[in-house]
Symmetry: C2
Subunit: 297 residues, 2 copies
């Protein structure tokens, strides 16, 4: 399969759905809805929604069953970026080459746009009940999975430990692993698992896909750490080497670049192994696993 | 009935449940969980959860069916207060006589504690699926009601318009009504309606209780506006007259104090009227409606 065209086509499908699901830019209050849309349409790669759709298809489901939840996941991811960029947090002026949300709309609206995107995700998820193909019990399980992975013992917890570790020269591997599996890995795992649940996976298949999701979630963040060192500013859309400059807790920082690359490759193997019982419908998941550690942006 | 003892007893029940449902203060990351608990246990009156429990009982339900959702509602209310108090928003150093969350834990953790409380609310709601008395379909309807009322076309939207209207001398009644029904009214209405749904209300009863909730939600905020003028700093836990000093959009500001009092009383009548077909099990809701406009804090 041609992964590049696949990702491009799926990205477009997700963008179209996000455009349909989000409140219009003119809906009151317009400043809030413009701000929400600004960050949603700021050039995201839609990795999480694409993974959710692919997991749904891998178990024989149709992507329409997972699309609202896939968009909900992108909303949660986007809210986390808006809040991470705030002056009180990472204080970033640019993301993917564009001014960050608070630089355009001000801090107050940026905070509220993040809050609203997080909330909108649960509106979308609960609206799924109207889809006759999604049983309410599966839907509630998906809401539980996504909220747990996004909360204080998931993504938000990872962000707190990441922040508190910044500039600390004594960070150990266990802490970096905590940060990566929580801050980035949790939502990626939740995307894959939710796609499986919405596609009607057997519990065995859902378990295998969860293992796949955990492995690529961690691999994705290690690859990000490596890109921060080896990528150019143009490729990664932010200053190369910024993690080291900030004293960020990363895999290369605690185990060296070569060892980090080996670890990322091992995780891809674990991910592929988790898919061994799946047929060709899981090929996109296989390709994405390899792509995650080879990408240049 | 003795409303004072009733509210005190219910407040204690809600506090106990919040203590059970929230992650422990020592759970990692401890700073985040301490911050979440700090604001949850900062002396709230628990009006929203108490209303949810009372609505559940008014339709013949047991409060255990609604307690997790009642706590979820208090978490959403508390997250909104933490974010409203931030320097980029209202910039408040004190709330109910205590230092605000960001004064104690710093802005970054305060933002994340708010995010985590909002997310935790949906964890709690989805956990309700384990309760055999709550059918998944009703649960999804409650999640939809609560998320819609908390989102960009509900509470967050109201906060944006409130902020944007501050200092604007030309505010009209329609704008004040938008702010009040969205910023405060939406969650109060959602509390009452969700309690009804979780208690197994007929659609006719759920509709009546929704009308009750809408009326007291607006009455509650008008009463707050009036208290800001007539209450003492000690009673209301913040500087009296602060709304006027900030140029806040309030009912007394657009229609005068006397007219605002009449409007609040009319809304209580509408609320009581909505309960006319209910028996004695709705007495707490009746008493609370009257209390809302008579309270001194």
């Amino acid at each position: 399969m041609d992964l590049k065209s696949y990702l491009k086509e799926r990205c477009q499908l997700v963008d179209d759905a996000l455009n349909r699901f989000l409140p219009l830019a003119d809906d009151l209050p317009a400043s809030l809805h413009k701000s929400m849309r600004y960050s949603i349409f700021a050039g995201g790669k839609r990795i999480r929604p694409i993974l959710m759709l692919a997991a749904c298809e891998a178990v024989g489901g149709n992507i329409s069953q997972a699309m609202p939840a896939a968009c909900a996941m992108e909303m949660i991811h986007t809210y986390s970026l808006i809040h991470d960029d705030l002056p009180a947090m990472d204080d970033d002026d640019f993301r993917r080459g564009n001014p960050t949300n608070h630089k355009v709309f001000g801090e107050a609206v940026a905070i509220l746009a993040g809050d609203a995107l997080l909330t909108e995700a649960f509106i979308l998820l609960s609206n799924l009940a109207a889809a006759p193909t999604v049983p309410p019990a599966a839907l509630v399980q998906v809401i539980q999975e996504i909220s747990c992975c996004a909360g204080s013992r998931g993504m938000v917890g990872g962000q707190v430990v990441d922040m508190e570790s910044e500039g600390n020269a004594e960070i150990d591997l266990a802490t970096v692993q905590y940060i990566h599996t929580h801050k980035t890995g949790a939502l990626i795992k939740a995307s894959v698992k939710s796609g499986a649940l919405l596609g009607g996976a057997s519990s065995k298949d859902a378990e295998s896909l969860t293992r796949y999701g955990e492995a690529i979630g961690l691999a994705f963040q290690i690859a990000d750490d490596i890109l921060d060192i080896e990528g150019t500013t143009e490729e990664i859309g932010k200053d190369a080497g910024s993690d080291e400059a900030r004293g960020k807790a990363t895999y290369p920082a605690v185990m060296g670049l070569a060892e980090a690359k080996i670890r990322a490759a091992e995780l891809v193997d674990i991910a592929l192994d988790a898919l061994s019982a799946f047929d060709g419908k899981a090929d996109p998941l296989r390709e994405i696993a390899s792509y995650i550690v080879k990408r240049k942006s």
